[in-house]
């Protein structure tokens, strides 16, 4: 049985998920913003500035004390990328009123705080606080330069930059330190005001309050004006030709291998579940091909995992290896994909992949936070299926779908970050 969000006004949707499980409620408000290097830098910086203060709670101390006093409620501001869009999401979690010591209304106080972050950020003369802005720029630039602290993350970033120049997936925060430095408190405040006023918005609630009570709270504290909804243009991608190989060096004990693949298919709706099953058989399930063969049988690595961006139709497989084994590891990884496309999928592997995804979808129903994240992801995908529907869909799937996915995969780029330093013994390799 599918669900349907309520349209509160044009471009503003509300999804209500009632559950008695757990002890907390979760409320998300998510805006969709077009992706480009400036908007990515602005959204990232804004999410950090907003959390520093609101008009009623103008600094970190007063915000944190408000949260602590309301039984540790939390507001997180995060952003995520979906093809040509960025979603800027405010996530609120709070204890249910039944756990309050003296009958306080934890819910209303928490929703009011969430509303403050969106409608009453801390502004001075229409601009964000200059001191907060400068401080958060410094912090964000430090975060950007810290990419090299994690070799697997750095290797993925480099592989991405080398494989997809000019494509939306290559728009990276790690290249945007100069843009971050150039953004002013005035520009950022006006950018955020524009997001709140014009960006399509989804509100998703999961918890044990009934729909009327929540709509009352939403209408009182989270009222948005109507806004137009534009469909983002499709992503253009390079057609893979000859496989390109890049090797760079880093001060690390371990080398990191990244293999970048292009995928073919419509993974937002039609082939979505087939793609998920393909990835499960390849690398997610406990008996996945990469785990069983590349790690367990060949002892080539401790981790060998995949990372799929279905919007941009890209898959990366990365593994921490000894450089001397890099050719052997590449061959072993390619063999696993070839085996799937040749239909060499045992009943055990396939059944495990189905049950892995059925379990994952059933587990979503165990707490409000997972539920709200799941429903938000569904409405953003434009697919109105409940976790139970997804379970049924997986159970009906056959092996042909994932073979089809595997057949449409082609290797584009191999990137190796070669370790040249033994950190344990502090000497060069």
């Amino acid at each position: 049985m599918s669900f349907s969000p309520v349209c509160l006004s044009e471009g503003v949707r509300y999804t209500h998920v009632e559950t008695n499980r757990g002890k907390t409620d979760s409320l998300c408000v998510s805006f969709r913003v077009p992706l480009d290097p400036v908007s990515l830098a602005a959204v990232t910086l804004i999410s950090k500035i907003l959390i520093r203060g609101t008009m009623s709670f103008p600094d970190t101390v007063s915000i944190c004390r408000e949260c602590e006093d309301n039984y540790g409620c939390s507001v997180d501001i995060a952003h995520d990328r979906r093809g040509r869009e960025i979603s800027l999401t405010f996530m609120l979690s709070y204890l249910r009123n039944s756990f309050a010591f003296s009958g306080e209304d934890i819910a209303e106080r928490a929703v009011k705080l969430l509303s403050e972050f969106i409608f009453s950020p801390y502004l001075i003369d229409g601009a964000f606080n200059a001191e907060y802005t400068e401080r958060e720029k410094t912090a964000l630039c430090a975060l950007i330069s810290s990419i090299k602290n994690s070799k697997p993350s750095y290797a993925l970033y480099r592989a991405n930059a080398l494989m997809c120049p000019g494509e939306p997936i290559a728009v990276s925060l790690y290249d945007s330190a100069d843009t971050v430095r150039s953004l002013t408190p005035e520009y950022l405040a006006s950018f955020f005001a524009d997001v709140v006023k014009t960006a399509p918005v989804d509100i998703v609630y999961a918890g044990n309050a009934d729909v009327n009570r929540m709509l009352e709270l939403v209408n009182e504290h989270l009222k948005f004006s109507p806004r137009a909804v534009c469909k983002p243009s499709p992503v253009r991608r390079r057609t893979p030709g000859q496989v390109r190989t890049f090797v760079e060096e880093a001060s690390a004990s371990q080398s990191t291998l990244v293999m970048g693949f292009r995928l073919g298919g419509d993974f937002n709706r039609k082939d979505f579940n087939d793609l998920v099953l393909f990835e499960t058989v390849l690398s997610l399930s406990p008996v996945s091909k990469l785990f069983t063969n590349v790690r367990e049988k060949l002892s080539l690595c401790y981790y060998c995992s995949s990372n799929i961006d279905r919007h941009n139709k890209i898959m990366y497989i990365n593994a921490g290896i000894d450089y001397a084994n890099s050719k052997k590891a590449q061959k072993a990884i390619l063999k696993q994909i070839k085996d799937i496309s040749d239909g060499m999928i045992s009943a055990e592997e396939f059944d495990n992949a189905i049950s892995f995804n059925v379990i994952a979808n059933k587990a979503i129903c165990d707490d409000a936070s997972s539920l709200s994240q799941f429903y938000l992801s569904q409405v953003l995908r434009g697919v109105y299926l409940t976790p139970e529907d997804e379970c049924d869909l997986f159970k009906k799937k056959g092996v042909k779908g994932l073979i089809r996915v595997a057949k449409r995969i082609s290797l584009d780029t191999v990137y190796i970050l070669k370790g040249n330093f033994d950190a344990n013994n502090q000497k060069e390799l």
Partner: protein, 423 residues
Amino acid sequence: MQITRKSFESTDEKYTRVVFDNGFTCYIIPKDVNSPYAAIGVDFGASDTLCKETGEEFPVGTAHFLEHKMFQTKNGDAFALFADRGAASNAYTASDKTVYNFSCTDNLYENLDILLDMVFNAHFTKKSVEKEKGIIAQEIKMYADNPRWRCYRSLLELMYGKSPVSSDPCGTVDYIYSVTPELLNRCRKAAYSPDKMVLCVCGNVDEQKIIELTQKAISGVRSGKGGTFYPPNISRKPAGSRNAVYGDVSSPVFNMGIRLDTPGHIVSAYEFAAVEIIMNLLYGKSSDLYSELYVKGLFETIGDDCQTSRNTFFATVSGVSAYPDAFRASACEKILEYAEKGFSQEDFDRTKKAIYGDLVFSCESPESVCDSVISFHMEGDDFFEYPATVASVKKEDAEMLLKNRFLRENICISIIFPKEEEK
């Protein structure tokens, strides 16, 4: 067999604890979830290298290697057996314990059978032990490249000297290549005894069925006391106060530790709760210090934590800072300031309320509940009593603890500076 049932109104939680005749303990925690979780904790961790009764030593890395190989059973690879029954299984080796777990939506009782079978009847072959060495060697290298991990290990070495407590739990690559099936079997026999193990199951479960199934699984297991393991060579006081090295980091990474244990003293849940409150008040996001130092640019990110295991008890503040030494100086000053003037009652009560909220939050997750129950059980405490313990902490007791234990000579800092700064 002894059965105890308890319920806790404020957090809406309850459990049944069963202690079987051979000392094996089982907690059964009912919870309305689709995905139940079960874990077995073994009171033997990475730093437990010396057996008190026999004097036998198992170097650091043995417990972790054993954890990797415990999934090998006579019926096949337990990892695959779990997967066949729709369960996701995992394990981890902490300093003072090893934990094996699974979660599933169906076949709970069959999966529980596999879990119980593997911890009592693991079967190691030379071939499987050999092939594991390459995997663990890569795990060791992966951690060696993680600056935060290296910084933390170095802090432990400052606080507790060169001892199993401060060593990498995975051991060294050289040691790993010397491990044999015989060594692993000897270690398992000495450490994996029913009286040193605790099972925790949380979900929509049939209590009686779990008791019967567990009884059956442990019926063939020998009884008798298992070895008492401990980490030797812990220095009586910090081995140093500062260690700085240069590495491949963009900004300095630091970890500041405050050693809080005193010789022969067993840490109570009350003391632990008091330290948790103190750390929140001193370095939490709502503290004056946090805002003051952040605004001054004395750190980019910080997080605080407190831990106790075996004879160790310490609190840490770790993060990224361009000026880690200045951060330490300010952090130490704040301790002196609060030791002198005390905390405000309002701040103290609000912090307790927030910790209570966090504990209720954590009770939502079967995984979090089971892991906490196991950790508290191994310290001789009851996790579900902890919210009441936090509520009972008196401001005066916390202030006394701050004055007597948060001493300058027990504060250490480990730093990794960017190698560019070396030049």
